[in-house]
Symmetry: C3
Subunit: 389 residues, 3 copies
């Protein structure tokens, strides 16, 4: 405990800011603080010690997409710190009645300490919406309408999925022993075949946007046409160079897997399809959307061999790369006829994917803590004295 | 703090009762107690001090209409006092299975300390329903089925909207400096044009039913045919007379605005339309309802000049009347083509409408506290000793 | 308090296990511990004393059927012990995306202390599903994915409804003075007419599966063809014999009522119909389902005289048997034209049915406590020292 606190003291917690929207907006020290605090909260939880730092207050969640694990991770994190979850269910609200984002954001925040938002369905929208909410609560706080500036945590947007990528990083840190041990490790972030359509880009973008900062050799693999948002790909390249690692793009899953220490095979929709889809949705062009889905699914079908099989895994470092997935995976012969990963591979790594997921509530709790608690270090010192079960 | 407690000691908290349904059922001392306690809880919240008075217990909400700010205000208030919100979602329940109100009210109350109900859609129903719930939990308590008599808070019915009108009163008290300062102030509670239909009458009724008790000059303005429930209008007249203020009714927005210190332009459906609508709804007469909506909208359209514009505001006291609204407002060129208020007026007063809304969670918390805590004064004294952040 | 604790010390709490799925999987000592703890928690609640044993943690509810009282009982119990309810709403989750039960169960459990499941719609499914969840969280705990093994509470399955039957037992214990006093008492668990269709079998099965263990004379009555799951009926017979009571089956309500100390008239669908219904549902055979419903309703209509009337009650012990019902009842002339019970009988016993229901939150709290708290006795001793209101 004291070791963790000393580590956290050495990092710049005071300037952490009230938002966690994109990992690349955060300094390395801030990311490290998030990781160390998540581990500390996790260890305290394991020992049955209290992580309560708020005596009351709301954690508001806004989910614009279905969710199981992020919803429960958010609820768990809020509860662990002492906040009550209040879900902003847009169907039950008057949001449609011409309220502006600015107004709603303030109206739900009078006693709110944290807002978590998942808005990943439309390119160009999720992150923009989160920024609007951030601006709204910031000015509400400055104008004295809100007593506290609620922290804002991105639970997945169109650009990044920081609670996922940071959980993945926590998993890798513990699997390989330290952040330093990640230097030089090769990860294959690869597209994989799925019979479904329209999966967001934020997981692969989050991975290449985060892991390139740790000196890793990051390979992004996808069929031609399945590219990500160009700005994020550019950023990944620049970060890799700055960190002394590498970033490259290939159009072949097997090639990406060669010698990899970690593989992350996961489906997504092509950037251009997501753009077209967003525009058709805005026009409510139903037949256009249907045609797009058909075209996309039949294009996907050309790449059914982008599956993470035992054979492909043999290409990795000693045939033993760590398999990662944000779950739920499309598992061949389990959840679909043909999918992202073969049943035997998934089963063999099931334990690791569950462990990977287990970091998320603690990562979210750490983000809530650092964006919302007024003096994180003194709150931590107070916690350290608490042995309550 | 001590000043507030002394003030509250001087008011008659012991007879406050377990229900807050209509402001006109409450004595002036009880209303003052609610206001002062709300301010005290607000100030403590601003300073980061705990308002926890329950160590556990449920606050059950029953929303029969969509809601954003009341829902979050209720959740915030419950949480601040230490209660967990449990929403009685009638779709997920067996209410339709022939349960009586009496039965359901008891079944949800075994560990419930507060029930909040919003039921504002049908004339003649909301308040009646709340009274049934009140009777049910009262007899459940008396018969030993319930260990506590849950407090009942009206979150908006067909007749009154006390959490709104009391928040408005708190806003006015703080804007003008004291309740005494309201004496002689002129408020124009005016109908305003909206492109929508069927808005409840409870806000204007709540305003004239409350503010006429404070010696204010209250003018109710609406086009001919847009009258409110006659009993409430009568009551407003009598209260104004008793309090040494005035109450008058005009059919002209501009006339109402002349010399006003406060304007409250807000749309509602005519009483007679709401009555007809309720009767058609009971008969499930779909074509009748559609015809009524059309007739009502086209009648509304005759009164599009009932908009709160900069020009009309110039008619008010020094051209600077305070603009109030319960939100969300129909803002011309923002949420609709033509609405209740012009964009520039709304923008200029936005801060005040947000502040107005910010009182609501604390007003609700004060109502919960006074209707549900067994010995409010000793609970307050216990709180006063708590400096916990 | 000390008396209760001494009693609980004498029972074998350490081997209680983490699941409460079927009462007949629990030893008599475990059932007694549940009852005594429920009473202790209830008495503490009545006195306004804290029952908080967790400082944080989630209680996850999974409702696959509509529910009012069980939902609120679960929420109340969780809150009383210090847990926050998080509802696993399958529509808002990604459960449909090919997740396995094993995966979902772990994903929602990282900070979860209790899982409550209601899954009573399909024969052969509810209990099986609960066992899968149990296995999943057990292995997640053993493999270090979960820090705690969440307790699992059956909130009604296709076979048993233990939170109901245990509440009924608590009611009987208090009505007759002790568990010992139940020996030789006659209960008529009888089918009753209802205009609805497809009611689960778990209430009558739960009653005969539990009360036959207390030396009672249990008579199960239903029209021919309305039988229960044969295994449960067999079990009831064996248990009655072992406990020195009796169990018999008759096809006549009046006969069952003769001399009864307690009557429990309640509708259910025939076992064979539920089996056919489950199979038609799996085939999505809509016309088959409609035909089955029609056939079943018209068969029901042959037995409209299976109503608990004043006349039938006169047949019971001194004409004063205790009337039990799990609520909501189908009450003739109240919730339907003709139903399970006459209005005057129901009204006369209303108080008792409400009391019967009032045990449920405490029974659930006791089950949560015993399945989830690490050292129940020391937690109880800690509670005993707490006089906090």
């Amino acid at each position: 405990m004291n070791e963790y606190i000393d580590k956290l003291k050495s990092l710049n917690l005071a300037n952490y800011g009230h938002d966690f929207l994109l990992t690349w907006d955060k300094s390395s020290a801030e990311l490290e603080a998030t990781l160390y605090l998540a581990e500390l909260l996790r260890e305290r939880h394991r020992l049955g010690r209290s992580n309560l730092v708020f005596n009351s207050g709301l954690a508001v969640s806004i989910f614009r997409d279905k969710s199981t694990r992020t919803r429960f991770s958010f609820a768990s994190a809020a509860n662990a710190l002492g906040l009550a979850v209040s879900d902003m269910d847009e169907e039950k609200s008057q949001v449609s009645h011409g309220e502006t984002v600015r107004e709603t954001a303030n109206m739900i925040s009078f006693m709110t300490r944290v807002i978590g938002i998942r808005d990943d369905l439309y390119l160009g929208e999720g992150h923009t919406y989160m920024q609007e909410v951030s601006d709204a609560v910031q000015s509400g706080f400055e104008e004295g309408v809100l007593h506290n500036r609620p922290g804002l945590v991105n639970l997945q947007c169109d650009i990044d999925h920081p609670t996922q990528s940071m959980s993945d990083l926590a998993m890798l840190k513990n699997y390989f022993g330290s952040l330093e041990a990640l230097r030089g490790k090769k990860i294959a972030m690869s597209w994989a075949y799925s019979p479904s359509y329209g999966k967001p880009l934020s997981v692969p973008q989050g991975i290449i946007g985060l892991l390139t900062r740790y000196g890793m050799d990051v390979t992004l693999a996808h069929p031609e046409g399945y590219s990500l948002i160009p700005d994020v790909v550019d950023l990944a390249g620049k970060q890799a160079q700055a960190a002394g690692g590498s970033f490259k793009l290939v159009n072949n899953m097997a090639e990406a897997f060669k010698g990899a220490d970690i593989v992350y095979p996961k489906s997504w929709a092509p950037y251009s399809v997501m753009e077209e889809r967003t525009s058709l949705l805005k026009q409510s062009d139903r037949s256009g959307l249907l045609a797009l889905e058909q075209a996309c699914l039949s294009n996907n079908a050309k790449f059914t061999d982008w599956e993470c099989t035992e054979e492909k895994l043999k290409l990795t470092k000693d045939g033993k790369a760590l398999y990662l997935h944000c779950l739920p995976a499309d598992i061949t012969d389990v959840s679909c006829e043909q999918g992202e990963v073969s049943k035997s591979v998934f089963e063999r790594y099931r334990h690791y994917t569950y462990l990977e997921a287990s970091y998320k509530p603690f990562i979210i709790a750490a983000m809530m803590f650092l964006t919302s608690v007024k003096n994180p270090l003194s709150a931590l010192e107070k916690l350290a004295k608490s042995y309550e079960v």
